[in-house]
Amino acid sequence: MKVLMKGNEALAEAAIRSGCRHFFGYPITPQTELAAYMSKRMPKIGGTYLQAESEIAAVNMVLGASAAGVRAMTSSSSPGISLKSEGISYMAGSDLPALIINVQRGGPGLGGIQPSQADYWQATKATGHGDFQILVFAPSTVQEMVDLVSGAFDAADRWRMPAMILADGMLGQMMEPVTLPEEDGKPLPEKDWCANGHQDRREHHVINSLYLTPDKLEDLVVERYKRYEQVKAQEQRAEEYLVEDADTVIVAYGASSRVVRSAVNKAREQGRKVGLIRPITLWPFPVDALQKAAAHARNFLVVEMSMGQMVDDVKLSIDCKVPVHFFGRTGGIIPTPAEVLGEIEKLA
């Protein structure tokens, strides 16, 4: 049965149906409906909704709950994610799974409250200090917001690393019909590493990111990067739309990919061979799909709601073998299909 839901609320309901019972948040536009939904639902199902004193406290509550072995999450929007970066780095350094949702708005600073994709670099390159990565998923519809949540929790548990859903104010605020998954009630993964009291049955567990001996710290980071290589091999995902015969391949994710899809359809009506690669995972970046397309494409065009961030990863993925062009709007402005079509025409 389909129900009409706002993106932010759909994310929350999907998290609950994925077995999450611990949400720690702090109000910020345009993600607040997510927290409000949790405050309504969690008390009814024996879960925890806690409005923290800050985003910093909220992410550290997630750290604590995750260390205790439960599925825990927080959500925020761009300025709040900056505050969470400390906790995300500590969770990565302590090999703790968690889900963090960023419903992006314009920046830098307080920026604006309209949709943006200007946190791409933050999400994929530097969510906090130190050598580490987090999983980053980029939904483009409300249905996909629902669909990605459970997989993001599972991947975070599987790889013992934080996962982020990088949405934006448009997806968070818009309503679309969605099919919600039934809660399957299957047991969540066993976490034999967690700190939930040794009950006199095992050695004490220490959840920690401090290693004062350089050799030991280097070894741990190198081990983590070996795991990241496996993640890259197994988790990268992208949707390919009319790419097979395309001369021009547009790369766009999230809200901007919806605009691009319209522009691609228009261009095809005009007889132009244009396709879309839509990254679903931003880290790991879907390098394979891009390399495959680079074998036949004459041009790449990257469309983002930023001054151009993902465009760097596109260039790196294809080793600059094909010219990579960029079109972006920023500050909370969503590009129009006509604007994108104009860019396509320039490349013809």
């Binding site: 205790a68 439960v70 040794h198």
Partner: protein, 255 residues
């Protein structure tokens, strides 16, 4: 031969790294003793903070989590909300609890989180080499107050027990010290009570322990205890600041 005295079971065999004369060792023992006496080590999770005591995760035999600087009580909140049957405590210094972690402290307290907080107040940042702490005394010379803490520019010390005892969510707040056998015994009882309160579901309990830092105070261990008595005790009076068992109920007002 009968055993009449031994190391608490809740301390590991790891050698402590603390400087000679530092009182962390005594307080570690008292916390471990409380776990032993209450039989709770197996279901206790401790939260280590950032400062000299960061490596207490190697010393306490219960499960441990190391928190970012100042965030111990937020981490403890997550641990306790996730597993209410676990006993959760934080072990924090003055920089961690009363400077960078002030918001986390005040809000865990005002929410009445059912956790136990052990607060080491030695009026200085120990691990980074002796800078001014939020609890450094007026006139106190530190690395970053070389002319003495000037209250005109550096303000006044934070009196944590006094501050927190005004909050309705706090069940128990007591300030103790460990400069003498008598005071160690008082501290032992206070720490045990702070754990017992959690087992009884009474809510947020904090024990502030006035402590020494001979290395960064530039004094011998014996002189440090004397300095503590002469300077810290007058500014930070010992005693119970709040106790729901003694006529002040949670949420305010007389019982």
């Amino acid at each position: 031969m009968p055993i009449v005295f031994q190391k608490p079971r809740a301390l590991t065999d790891a050698p402590l790294h603390y400087c000679p004369g530092c009182t962390h060792g005594i307080v570690h023992r008292l916390v471990a003793q409380a776990m032993d006496e209450l039989g709770i080590e197996g279901r206790t999770v401790g939260v280590a903070s950032v400062g000299c005591s960061v490596m207490c995760y190697d010393y306490f035999a219960c499960d441990m989590v190391q928190a970012p600087h100042g965030r111990a009580q937020a981490v403890a909140t997550g641990l306790k909300r996730a597993r209410p049957d676990n006993v959760v405590f934080t072990y924090q210094g003055d920089g961690d609890l009363a400077a960078i972690g002030t918001a986390e402290t005040v809000h865990a307290a005002t929410r009445g989180e059912n956790i136990t907080v052990i607060f080491i107040n030695n009026a200085i940042y120990g691990m980074t080499g002796g800078q001014m702490a939020p609890t450094s005394l007026p006139g106190q010379i530190t690395q970053t107050t070389p002319y003495g803490r000037d209250t005109d520019t550096a303000g006044y010390p934070v009196k944590v027990c006094e501050l927190l005892s005004t909050l309705d969510g706090v069940a128990f707040a007591q300030r103790v010290t460990v400069d003498s056998v008598k005071n160690v015994n008082t501290a032992r009882k206070a720490i045990k009570k702070a754990f017992q309160n959690q087992l009884d579901g009474k809510g947020y309990s904090i024990v502030e322990v006035l402590s020494t830092c001979p290395t960064n105070w530039g004094l011998s261990p014996v002189e440090s205890l004397q300095w503590l008595r002469e300077n810290m005790l007058p500014y930070y009076p010992l005693g119970v600041y709040k106790d729901v068992d003694q006529g002040v109920k949670k949420g305010g007002g007389a019982l």
